[in-house]
Symmetry: C2
Subunit: 316 residues, 2 copies
Amino acid sequence: MITVGIDVGGTKIAGALVSENGEILTSLKVPTPAHSTDELINAVVAMVQELRSSQEVAAVGVAIAGFIDADQSEVIYSPNLSLRNEPLKAKLEAKLGVNVFVENDANAAGWAEYRFGAGQGSKHMMMITIGTGVGGAIVANGDLFRGGFGIGAELGHTNFIQEGRECGCGQYGCLEKYASGTALLEAAKELAASGTAEGKRLAELEAEVGELTGTEVYQAINEADPGALRLLNELGTNIGKAVASFAAILDPQMLVLGGGLSVAGELLLKPIRESYLDHLPARGYRPEMKIVTASLINDAGVVGAADLARRHSLER
Amino acid sequence: MITVGIDVGGTKIAGALVSENGEILTSLKVPTPAHSTDELINAVVAMVQELRSSQEVAAVGVAIAGFIDADQSEVIYSPNLSLRNEPLKAKLEAKLGVNVFVENDANAAGWAEYRFGAGQGSKHMMMITIGTGVGGAIVANGDLFRGGFGIGAELGHTNFIQEGRECGCGQYGCLEKYASGTALLEAAKELAASGTAEGKRLAELEAEVGELTGTEVYQAINEADPGALRLLNELGTNIGKAVASFAAILDPQMLVLGGGLSVAGELLLKPIRESYLDHLPARGYRPEMKIVTASLINDAGVVGAADLARRHSLER
């Protein structure tokens, strides 16, 4: 059974024909019309039509950054897109004449890692994605854990520091403000501007003064610049503290680390592991989860969406 | 099908014959031999024998405060009892000749509330118990959520304040240190000793200076003493902050508040509700959970253990 997976991001829409084994058979990419819901829907429809022109498909899974309702039909709220209480499933099904399932993008990516990637074999798995923000996905007893209203696993929006930094979600002190790529870049900008010896290399790498980019921070990390490495280490320590509390609640067998920053590999895994163990309640009296990096990275959203659509389609 | 539920607490063991509808048919209570595993096992065996002397039983569920392994056979660690990596299921089954299932006590209580108490009808439910410590239970999609190693839902041991008060679990700043009955009593003792007008009534109620008791604090709350009420309000505010983060992860439809302090009713529910709403990420863009008090209180452990044993027994 071949299904289509679509991943609607803030800047691009990716889509693919995906086999039962999670293999990508054909893939496409277009820019996201982020400010018009009609154009966004038309872009998804056009992509699905192109993908299925040469191959019949059983269902379509659409991953999208935002709150999806428990029926997986409506996008309740998407912070980076124009969608608000949008009946996406119904609209797409009307235009496509095939079953459509809408899923949160982090959930889709986590599901892909569980089925075909780094999370295979752990029926209780947690994924945390570190990119622009901090996202999460939970697999419990071999099923995607979505919560009572469909919007659980928002690991980046748990409180990390009481009355801490203001977050886009309306709260203060969310983990995302202390452990995302955005938070790392902010800290690196401050360090570059500090005039200290530790910030010297970051300042040198700035193409434009005061406008340090993620790529430049990544270069500093690759050069083993002590300043950049300290910041990455602090980010990892923060993630480790947070996941120790998540483990007290979810007690997974494995944590899969995804998102753009996961390319840092051991440089990020090491402080996360150490900090997780240092902060694990009742350590020594309990099994400890494995911590690994994601293996599907960029394809996880489309592969997960396609596989979830296949699965739901079989359940009907 | 009649089953036995046993609830092994730090001071007493309670047991009962329980019907399929969660009704208690006969109940017993004895002191807990907390320092001898053999005596504890003998006490449980004697209680089960007495309960089934007049009635055949299909299975026995044993609820116990501690980490239970994923197979529900072994007590990995029980902080208030002498049990360490104890194969309780095997030992009890050998002596009783009937199926035995071991369960964490908060999980059993949460399950009872879901099946027969305040949590009925919400397939995604979270219980938080506020007593000596802070315990938790999670029902997800109509099933008890136990985690990958069987020791999830330890809501009281999530971090509440970074590098905060030292906790018995080896960590610092656990929620339990800011929102348990023990934390309330500590705060009340400090207030009583402060010599302030706000602490005057608490100081008067002390039978022995510096030795304020929980009963005395409860009396002050019942008298609407402003000092005691402020402390209760702060405790509720702390719980509300924490459950807002738990909701970001678990997204339950309902929170059931149990444990000794839940008898405070609206005095505690009100600050919890307000603080939950104040701290809920993306509030206004998502459904909100109901918050209610538990209805089974003292019987929840035995009823839940008995019902889980019945359920497991049917699955075999």
